[in-house]
């Protein structure tokens, strides 16, 4: 103990060690190898050689920019929808949930007890051509008489929204639940109507939840490939599908690695911009929630 008392700086470092090791072994090292692979040239027949082959990146972006753009549009749309659906729900649970609060929260998390793949396959059944939902939409004229919902953009966005919705609701709930009711009372006492209390007190105080929710939904949604594969058609392919096929079908490891890096870089830039706009403080606040 005397040692630690003399070297106070070392103790926190020791606490960090397991996490740090984990990061190095399972994150930094694989990342390094992926970076190296992305600069290789060759084919699975001749083998791959390291060659500072930067043109893999430019070729990849030229060939697959459509899928990149599509991924971000789908992820953006799903994040927006999740916010629209998730905010009122989180608000209701936090302020009106009463004794049902925990049960309702459990209901939000419950789908997670079933694997991701099975949940998405369930949507395949919900949206299949002869399902009650699709017949109903056909009667309303929203879907053409012989039209289908599966294998369309709507199906993919719906699937992504459904799958990532809890990632939006939980941080929103955490932020809303922390708001001191006396703040709202004070707002009302100061002649704020319900609307201005919401926009000037509740909403700003819940921003950390919004920021975290958007990040937690958008990032995995942009890299998703399961929804596009199961609920989409070739016209809905996302960048995740391309990476998967480059790795497993074509065995074109350099392109797959380059695409992964570009996806990561673009997301990092977007997160940085988002953090700048939304304020790092609220971001950090949300993380400690």
């Amino acid at each position: 103990m005397a040692y630690f008392q003399r070297h106070k700086g070392i103790f926190p470092l020791l606490l960090l060690l397991p996490g740090l090791l984990w990061l190095i072994v399972f994150f930094a090292v694989p990342l390094y190898y992926q970076a190296k692979i992305s600069l290789n040239t060759g084919s699975p027949f001749e083998g791959f050689r390291f060659a500072w082959h930067w043109s893999t990146y430019t070729d990849a972006i030229r060939t697959y920019h459509t899928q990149f753009i599509r991924s971000f549009i789908y992820a953006g749309a799903s994040t927006g929808l999740s916010l629209l659906i998730g905010y009122p729900l989180a608000y209701a649970i936090a302020f009106r949930g009463g004794r049902w609060r925990n049960a309702l929260l459990l209901a939000v998390i419950l789908p997670f007890f079933v694997t991701y793949l099975v949940r998405t396959l369930a949507w395949e059944t919900i949206l299949d051509d002869s399902s009650p939902l699709v017949s109903f939409l056909q009667t309303l004229g929203i879907v053409g008489k012989n039209g289908h919902v599966l294998a369309t953009t709507s199906a993919v966005i719906a699937g992504i929204t459904y799958n990532f919705l809890p990632f939006m609701i939980l941080p929103l709930y955490a932020a809303l639940e922390r708001i001191d009711p006396r703040m709202l009372e004070a707002g009302a006492d100061l002649y704020g109507n319900r609307r201005s209390v919401f926009t000037r007190v509740t909403l700003p105080l819940s921003m950390p939840g919004v920021v975290a929710g958007v990040l937690l939904t958008f990032i995995p949604a942009a890299g998703d490939f399961v929804n596009a594969a199961l609920l989409g058609s070739p016209k809905q392919t996302m960048i995740g599908n391309v990476i998967q096929s480059r790795y497993l079908e074509v065995n074109d490891y350099p392109t797959a690695a380059a695409l992964s890096f570009m996806l990561m870089a673009i997301i990092l830039v977007m997160v940085a911009i988002w953090a700048k706009i939304a304020g790092t403080e609220s971001l950090m606040g949300a993380e400690t929630a």
Partner: protein, 404 residues
């Protein structure tokens, strides 16, 4: 020496229960040369060089040895008879020979499996596998790369006698020196008769009446081959330009919404549900679909259909190469093949299977999809073996077509 090779060595030592004397004896018999070469290559750190030392190992035929106690067999899912979670055929083999078969259903896709084992095979290790089953074109590719051991024909008398005539010679392995067929299959149209009526042309998949109710296959050679036949080209002799033309035709039909998507055997659920009315599909699946739904039918299109074979092969570095030959030879008996056929419903490559099956399940034995007549078979086409450059070009175009 990489961790993988240590694992492999441990596997070999434990699974095969090799003691030191056996190890030495096998070394003397020359069988060790393969794994010894791999061992040295692996220690040299050459993981990425794909050609090289293994090629010479592959050119040597498998020496005769003693039948081991274990055989590691990697196959596709649902590709052998199953009864209450067990495989009666494999148990019969164990009873007759004392060889325990470790059966792994780990092959779901030719390319995916290739990606998984490529590095191991390139360094001369089979990852403990003794038999793998690959479709024609992938078998050809692996042989070309020197990943496959040459079989000893004198150890395979049943195969020599009972292999059906139309499979005796094939362009990627003219004398069947490296491959023994496991099952053959036909790719044609599978349709919902109640929705599309009687159709006979492969071009029906492009009929606007079925817009959005059409699926094709993610297996490139099947989709490109059938589409080529519809365009009046022969996939066995056609040029790469003809193949690219077929890809372009499918691409137009993806763009306009005619083709709903490309599937593996997902059509197994899409056809009964009615999401798909007309699909490129495989005969063995059709047999099983028809049994459940009388409205589903497999069609041999007027323009022809695709024929393919999945082949058993012994990869380099296989720990029980001779035992693998014993197994292949044992399978090539009609009474052994019949129960497998009764379950998998593809086309058996073993002569006399029909007669053997008539005794145990006459209904299946009379199914023309499992035992097609000569007139039908004459309309079948094999997909040509592509040069690596052509394959790359076509594969890239096709992957872009199916959306990746």
């Amino acid at each position: 020496m990489s961790e993988r090779n240590i694992d492999k060595l441990i596997d070999e030592l434990v699974a095969a229960e090799i003691n030191r004397r056996q190890l030495l004896r096998r070394g003397a018999a020359g069988a060790m040369s393969v794994s010894a070469a791999a061992f040295l290559a692996a220690c040299g750190g050459g993981g990425n060089a794909l050609s090289g030392g293994t090629k010479t190992a592959a050119e040597k035929t498998i020496p005769k040895g003693e039948v081991g106690t274990q055989l590691n067999f990697s196959n596709w899912p649902l590709y052998i008879d199953v009864d209450h979670g067990k495989h009666p055929t494999l148990e019969k083999f164990t009873k007759e020979t004392g060889v325990h078969v470790k059966y792994t259903e780990e092959i779901n896709d030719n390319n995916e499996f290739f990606g998984k084992v490529r590095q191991q095979l390139a360094s001369g290790s089979s990852g403990g596998r003794d038999i793998i089953v690959m479709t024609d074109w992938m078998a050809g590719k692996m042989i070309r790369l020197g990943y496959i051991q040459k079989l000893d024909k004198s150890a395979l008398p049943n195969v020599n006698a009972n292999l059906v005539d139309n499979l005796k010679h094939i362009d990627f392995d003219p004398n069947r020196d490296f491959t023994v067929p496991w099952q053959s299959g036909q790719t044609g149209l599978i349709v919902r008769k109640d929705k599309v009526g009687d159709v006979t042309s492969v071009n029906e998949v492009f009929n606007p009446k079925w817009k959005g109710k059409v699926t094709l296959l993610t297996e490139m050679r099947d989709s490109v081959g059938l589409t080529m036949l519809g365009m009046g080209k022969d996939p066995t002799t056609g040029s790469v330009d003809d193949m690219m033309a077929a890809v372009n035709k499918m691409n137009d039909n993806v763009k306009n919404g005619q083709i709903r998507r490309f599937t593996g055997n997902d059509y197994l659920k899409d056809l009964p549900k009615g999401d798909t009315w007309i699909a490129y599909g495989w005969s063995g699946d059709a047999v099983q679909l028809q049994a459940d739904n009388k409205n589903i039918e497999f069609i041999h299109p007027d323009e022809g259909f695709m024929l393919w074979t999945d082949n058993m092969m012994v990869p380099v570095g296989a720990p029980h190469a001779y035992t693998a030959e014993v197994f292949m030879n044992w399978i090539y008996q009609p009474q052994v093949e019949a129960p497998i056929e009764d379950y998998v419903n593809y086309v058996p490559p073993v002569k006399g299977t029909k007669e053997a099956l008539l005794k145990i399940d006459p209904e299946v034995a009379k199914n023309p999809l499992i035992f097609p007549d000569a007139a039908t078979l004459a309309k079948g086409h094999a997909f040509k073996t592509l040069s690596p450059a052509d394959e790359d070009k076509l594969n890239n175009a096709f992957q872009a077509l199916i959306g990746a």
